[in-house]
C-alpha cells in the first residue's frame, strides 16, 4: 500500500479527566505487521489509549501522528470494534452497507462487499434479520464484518470478547487472525492473558496509565522486565 498511514507514533501522550491523570506520558511507535496487544489490568488505561489512537478523544498532552505526517488519521483507513457492540436498529445487512456508505462506497457496489463480509463472519443467512436480535457473539461478529467491509489498514479492538463465551470468543479470534492474514494492522486491548498469548506478536503492558513495557510477545511472556508485568503474568499462572 503506497499511501500507508503506518507507523503510528504515540509521542508523550497524556490524558487527564476531572483532574485525574488517566494516561501518563506514553510514547511508542506501532509499525505495520505485528499484532499489537495492549495488556494490563482493568483501569490501566487500555481503552483510553485505543480511543486516543483512533482519534475519538484528544490527548491532553503529547501527539498522536500517523506516518509521520503530523496529520490526524484519515477516516476510512482505520476502524474500531468496541467491547459492547454498537449496532444500528436496522437489518444485519444494512449495518454493513451503512458503514460502506459513510466511507463513500457507491451504492451499487455496497451490496456485494457487504455480503462478502457477512459471509466471512458466518452471518450471510442472518443478513435480513434485525441486527439487535442477533446473539451476543453474532453481534460482535457483525461489528467485525462491518470493519472487514471497510478494508481498514488499522483495526482497533477494545476487549472484543470480554462478554463472550469461549465458543464465541474463538470465532472472534479466528476473524481477527484473518484480518491479520489480510494485512490489517491489529491493535487490541485485553486483560485476558490467555488471549494475549494466543494473539500477540508484541505487547504494550500498561499499568496505572503508564506504559510499563513494550516488547515482542515471546520476550514479554518469557522474561518480563518489570516487576508489574512479572506479577501480572505470575497471577495468571497462579489462577
Amino acid at each position: 500500500m503506497t499511501d500507508t498511514i503506518l507507523p503510528l507514533s504515540i509521542d508523550g501522550v497524556g490524558y487527564t479527566a476531572a483532574g485525574r491523570r488517566l494516561i501518563d506520558g506514553i510514547s511508542a511507535t506501532l509499525e505495520a505487521g505485528p499484532r499489537t496487544i495492549v495488556l494490563g489490568p482493568n483501569g490501566a488505561g487500555k481503552s483510553l489509549l485505543l480511543r486516543l489512537c483512533h482519534g475519538l478523544i484528544r490527548p491532553t498532552t503529547g501527539h498522536i501522528t500517523w506516518a509521520g505526517t503530523g496529520a490526524p488519521a484519515r477516516p476510512g483507513h482505520q476502524a474500531m470494534v468496541f467491547q459492547r457492540p454498537v449496532l444500528l436498529r436496522r437489518s444485519t445487512f444494512a449495518n454493513v452497507t451503512y458503514a460502506l456508505g459513510l466511507k463513500g462506497v457507491r451504492r451499487h457496489a455496497r451490496k456485494a462487499l457487504a455480503l462478502a463480509a457477512l459471509e466471512r463472519a458466518g452471518l450471510a443467512e442472518r443478513a435480513t434479520q434485525p441486527a439487535r436480535l442477533l446473539s451476543g457473539g453474532e453481534q460482535q461478529r457483525l461489528t467485525l464484518a462491518r470493519a472487514w467491509a471497510l478494508e481498514p489498514e488499522v483495526l482497533f479492538l477494545d476487549e472484543p470478547t470480554a462478554s463472550l463465551d469461549p465458543a464465541a470468543t474463538r470465532r472472534v479470534e479466528t476473524l481477527i487472525t484473518q484480518f491479520h492474514g489480510a494485512g490489517t494492522k491489529i491493535v487490541m486491548t485485553t486483560h485476558d492473558l490467555g488471549q494475549a498469548r494466543r494473539l500477540a506478536d508484541e505487547v504494550l503492558f500498561l499499568h496505572h496509565g503508564r506504559l510499563v513495557e513494550h516488547a515482542p510477545a515471546g520476550d514479554f511472556f518469557a522474561r518480563p522486565q518489570s516487576r508489574e508485568a512479572a506479577a501480572f503474568i505470575e497471577g495468571d499462572l497462579l489462577w
Partner: protein
C-alpha cells in the same frame, strides 16, 4: 333518558348517512390537525435533535421555551395567536384570524414543543449509545443527526401520534383563533362545545363518537408501533 336515547339514534343516523354537515366538520378537523402535525414534525424533529446534540448560543433558552410551551394550556396559546393575528396585532395585515390557517398555527404551536421534546429525549438517548461508533465510522454531525432520527423512528412515530392526539382533541385554542364560524372554522371539538350548550345533543354525540374512535385508533397505533419496535429492535 328518552332524549338521550333519541340523541344516540340520531347521532348514529348522522354518521351512517355521512351527513354533509358532519362530514364537513370532520374533514376540516382532520385537515387542520394533520397539517399542524406535519408542520410540527418538520420543525420539531430537527429542533429537538439540535437541542439534544449541539451546543449553540441560546440552546438553553430554546430548551426552556419548549418545556414551557409544553405545559401551557391551549387557551393561552390561542390567546397569544389571537393577539398576534388580530387586526391590530403584529401579523394583523395577513388577515388570518378566524381562518383555518389561524387554527393550524395555534395547533402547530401547541404540538411542536411536544414533538421536539420527545425527539430531544429519543435522540440524546441514542446519541449516548451511538456517538463513538458513528464518529469511528466517519459520520459528520449532519449525517449523525439523520441516523439518530431514523434509528429512533419508532419512538418518534409515537411522539407524532401523541401530537396528533393532542391537536385533534384540543378545543380552547381553535375556538379562540377560529371563532367557530359555521362552514368555515367549525371543527369537531368546537362544534361539540357549541351544540351541547345549545342542547342539540345528536350532532354533539355523533362527533363525540368519531373523536373517541379517533383517539382509540391513535392509542392502538401507538401500542402497535411500540410492540413492533420492541420485537424488531429489542
Amino acid at each position: 333518558m328518552t332524549d338521550f336515547g333519541d340523541a344516540f339514534t340520531t347521532a348514529f343516523g348522522l354518521i351512517a348517512s355521512l351527513d354533509p354537515d358532519l362530514m364537513e366538520i370532520v374533514l376540516l378537523s382532520l385537515r387542520v390537525s394533520l397539517t399542524a402535525v406535519g408542520l410540527a414534525v418538520l420543525v420539531g424533529l430537527p429542533l429537538g435533535a439540535a437541542v439534544a446534540l449541539f451546543r449553540f448560543p441560546g440552546r438553553l433558552v430554546v430548551a426552556a421555551l419548549l418545556n414551557a410551551f409544553m405545559g401551557l394550556p391551549p387557551v393561552v396559546i390561542g390567546l397569544m395567536v389571537y393577539l398576534l393575528l388580530s387586526r391590530n396585532g403584529p401579523l394583523g395585515v395577513l388577515g388570518l384570524l378566524f381562518t383555518p390557517t389561524a387554527m393550524i398555527i395555534a395547533q402547530w404551536l401547541l404540538i411542536t414543543p411536544i414533538v421536539a421534546a420527545l425527539a430531544q429525549q429519543t435522540v440524546s438517548d441514542l446519541h449516548a449509545e451511538y456517538d463513538e461508533q458513528l464518529r469511528s465510522l466517519g459520520a459528520g454531525p449532519g449525517r449523525a443527526v439523520w441516523t439518530l432520527l431514523w434509528d429512533g423512528r419508532f419512538s418518534l412515530l409515537t411522539a407524532v401520534l401523541a401530537g396528533f392526539g393532542r391537536a385533534s382533541a384540543e378545543v380552547g385554542a381553535v375556538m379562540i383563533v377560529g371563532g367557530n364560524i359555521n362552514h368555515v372554522t367549525r371543527v369537531m371539538t368546537t362544534t361539540i362545545a357549541l351544540e351541547t350548550s345549545k342542547g342539540n345533543l345528536a350532532l354533539a354525540l355523533g362527533l363525540g363518537m368519531i373523536l373517541i374512535t379517533l383517539a382509540l385508533t391513535i392509542t392502538l397505533s401507538a401500542m402497535a408501533v411500540r410492540d413492533l419496535a420492541s420485537r424488531r429492535h429489542a
